[in-house]
């Protein structure tokens, strides 16, 4: 075992008849709540949090879930994913409040969990999240579904095109882009997640969130434009807001900058007052 894995352990919970894995690493730091991380659509702990999870484990105790396709037939519901995250929290929290972080669809799930557990989630980080799918997102989602249903070869490049900022793509070689496209997961669970993405509406829940919250928008996000993050900033009582100059795929484009935000926020969640807009970093 590499000591730098910080004794990463793998365990699982059973939710709705499905085994849901989660990973834990890092030492507890005083009374700092354990951090629970929720990845986004098409992702996993190792892909979306391949950078953040091991690095955060140097700072504190972290737990990250791999969301799983429920055993039951039928459309995926947000409630099912909320139950999966809730089951992991129940297992790892020891009855104490946690810090919860979600990215993309994971931010939607995290917001819903925080709304449902006002005493169970103390700190909340929502990265590139949203609360109500709008026509702009539905248009893209529709294109994706059409490409998927016709088994179009264009689907992977379309996903790259939407996920990364123009500058990031422009700086890559054709080989690098092909390698990135190849790594994209496409399976039945992804289909279900994309379907769910097209009909998110957690407006009522979001107003119930009491956690100390950091909302992070990505300036060049074409999948969840930053206006959605600003809406969350407006809707959540104890929220502060900041931006990263990145496309939606911030976990790949600017992982270290995101780490800095999470690291700083978790060290002192209330350092900035509710309603603050934190200035972008200027190195």
């Amino acid at each position: 075992m590499n000591p730098n894995d910080h004794n990463r352990s793998t365990d699982s919970v059973f939710v709705d008849g499905t085994e849901v894995p989660y990973y834990a690493a890092g030492a507890s730091q005083g009374d700092r709540p354990v951090l629970v991380m929720v990845h986004g659509s098409t992702g996993s702990t190792d892909s979306h949090y391949g950078y953040l999870f091991p690095m955060l484990a140097f700072r504190q105790r972290v737990v990250s879930i791999d969301l799983r396709q429920p055993a039951q037939d039928g459309a995926l519901t947000l409630t099912q994913l909320v139950r999966q995250v809730g089951a992991v929290i129940d297992r790892v929290s020891g009855g104490k409040p946690v810090s919860l972080m979600g990215y993309s669809l994971g931010a939607v799930v995290a917001a819903a969990v925080a709304a449902e557990r006002p005493d169970g989630v103390r700190n909340l980080m929502l990265v590139a999240g949203w609360m109500k799918t709008d026509a702009h997102q539905q248009l893209r989602n529709g294109i994706w579904r059409e490409l998927r249903s016709t088994s179009s070869q264009a689907i992977r490049n379309t996903m790259l095109f939407c996920a990364f900022s123009a500058g990031f793509i422009a700086a890559r070689t054709p080989q690098e882009l092909a390698g990135m496209a190849e790594k994209i997961t496409l399976d039945g669970f992804v289909d279900q997640q994309m379907d769910l993405n097209g009909r998110i509406d957690i407006v009522d829940q979001v107003s119930k969130i009491r956690a100390t919250t950091l909302v992070v928008g990505c300036t060049q996000d074409q999948m969840v434009p930053k206006a959605h993050s600003l809406q969350l900033f407006g809707a959540i009582e104890d929220a502060r807001y900041t931006e990263i100059d990145s496309g939606h795929a911030v976990v790949f484009e600017r992982p270290a900058e995101l780490l800095r935000l999470v690291d700083s926020f978790l060290r002192e969640p209330s350092a900035s007052a509710a309603g603050s807009i934190l200035p972008a970093s200027r190195p």
């Binding site: 730098n4 950078y51 690095m55 600017r254 992982p255 690291d263 200027r282 190195p283």
Partner: protein, 500 residues
């Protein structure tokens, strides 16, 4: 007024800065911009620029992109390349010193010979080649790449040809058509070697251990790009942020996370394979330690230079010199006209530390007999009113040291403001605070590739095996920890005794 002539050739100044490289100039600029003019900068040479003044060997360049390796408060729209030549960096520092009005504050050709704290006078006495200076606050800006290191090699000084260190390049020595030896395979050597390969009749490179080399994504900026930077400076800020965070991402390699170490290694070895076909040469150029343990080098022309027929890679150290003959550790003999020592700098045991004597008269070098250390990487117990910029635990393997220097300048400005507001005459790092800080660094350093990577590097002190040169975390974490003055870590003496 910068200073007062106190008679008998002694010059008093409130703040005395030693060194006019990035550190000293950055400090001076920020004092000046805050309307504080009571400072002098001592510079032993006749020009500003520090390592960029000294290093003018053929091919000299920085391995950090120019838009990041520059002051954040002095963006430069005119960098010629992503990685600009060293001469441009030197010119940038000259322009900075002139434009910010620092030149009247700089005493050139003034070498510090001895600095002593006087407890009675609450000031430093600094003996120099140009007389005695006294000051309340001493700011040492020695740099990590200031004093060249020459290896102890038998017969080296009696070499019958021309010999010089890469940082003391002798441009009057004719090199064309000569048999040249380059000692070393570090950051300077890989820039010198392609230049020498182009003009030498024969070239031999003495390599003690192979470096990892990754591609250098260098290119010229177009006139249109440069004009855009000038017309819309926010584009430079955007680029700087992109370069900074890309650099920060690579800290995961230094932190020794398996996946990122593997990816970096694959990139470096793929570069080697694409540029060197000969299996023997490839083997000799494949490092036997973990990537990042020593500085990762960037070059597109080093490997191709070594692959040329007139170039010989000698995969062992230079051991002995007899007349014109250089003899390697493996016993290979080479007849040479010129020897270039690209053998680096005195980094873990900097010579300036021998000159500075604290409250009890002990030199900093003696005080640091188990390796350099400082509270907040800037102040040392027993050495009151002394701040060191770019001293212990301030180096980076993955990002721009100018960012670190700026954080330290902010820290010192905070210390000066605190002393002024609270009427504190003497600030001295508390021993316990210093020990706690070092323990924190030791904890963070454990398991990093510098300590666990199985190499001998200038980042680690050979006496204590502690990581004394490098900050073992993200650059942003240095700014968060060390850009703000921490009065609670200091013993403070009031300027006027409080009345009971």
């Amino acid at each position: 007024m910068n200073s007062i002539d106190t008679g008998s050739g002694t010059t008093f100044t409130d703040i005395l800065i030693v060194g006019a490289g990035f550190g000293g100039l950055g400090m001076g600029i920020q004092l000046k911009r805050r309307g504080k003019h009571a400072f002098l900068i001592l510079e032993r040479a006749d020009d500003v620029g520090g390592t960029w003044r000294d290093n003018h060997y053929p091919g000299v360049a920085c391995d950090v992109p120019s838009h990041l390796y520059s002051f954040s408060f002095r963006p430069n729209a005119h960098w010629s390349h992503v990685f600009s030549p060293g001469g441009e960096i030197q010119q940038y520092l000259r322009d900075s010193a002139r434009d910010e009005g620092l030149l009247p504050h700089i005493r050139f050709g003034t070498t510090m010979r001895d600095a002593r704290w006087s407890e009675a006078d609450r000031q430093w006495s600094v003996q120099t080649s140009q007389g005695l200076f006294t000051c309340r606050v001493l700011i040492a800006c020695p740099g990590h790449l200031a004093d060249e290191h020459l290896p102890e090699i038998e017969g080296l000084s009696s070499f019958a040809g021309d010999i010089f260190h890469s940082a003391r390049w002798k441009h009057d020595v004719a090199l064309k058509g000569k048999r040249i030896g380059v000692v070393g395979s570090g950051a300077s050597a890989i820039q010198v070697v392609p230049e020498m390969a182009a003009i030498a009749s024969e070239l031999v490179v003495f390599q003690r251990s192979a470096p990892y080399v990754i591609p250098r994504a260098n290119r010229r900026y177009t006139e249109a790009e440069k004009r855009l930077f000038a017309r819309d400076p926010s584009q430079m800020d955007k680029l700087r942020a992109e370069l900074f965070w890309a650099g920060e991402t690579n800290f995961a390699q230094r932190r020794n996370l398996p996946r990122f170490v593997r990816e970096a290694k694959e990139m470096a070895l793929a570069h080697l394979h694409s540029q060197v076909e000969d299996p023997q040469l490839r083997a000799a150029l494949t490092p036997d330690y973990e990537i990042g343990c020593k500085r990762v080098l960037i070059s597109n022309d080093y490997y191709p230079a070594l692959a040329r027929s007139k170039v010989r890679l000698e995969a062992s150290a230079l051991q002995r010199v007899e007349g014109h003959t250089a003899i390697s550790a493996r016993g290979e003999r080479f007849e040479l006209d010129v020897l270039v020592c690209a053998t680096g700098f005195e980094a873990t045991r900097p010579p300036f530390a021998k000159l500075i004597h604290g409250r009890d008269g002990q030199s900093l070098d003696a005080h640091w007999d188990q390796g350099m250390q400082a509270f907040d990487s800037i102040a040392v117990h027993g050495y009151p009113n002394l701040f060191i910029i770019n001293g212990p635990n301030t180096g980076l393997g993955h990002n721009s040291v100018v960012y670190i220097i700026e954080a330290q300048v902010d820290y010192i400005l905070g210390a000066l403001a605190h002393a002024e507001q609270q009427q504190v005459a003497v600030l001295e790092a508390d021993a316990a605070a210093e020990a706690r800080y070092m323990d924190m660094l030791d904890t963070r350093a454990q398991g990093t590739v510098w300590l666990a990577g199985g190499c001998k590097s200038w980042y680690v002190d050979t006496r204590s095996r502690r990581l004394t040169l490098v900050w073992p975390d993200y650059a942003y974490a240095f700014r968060e920890a060390n850009a703000t003055f921490h009065p609670e870590g200091y013993l403070q003496t009031q300027a006027v005794e409080a009345t009971p």
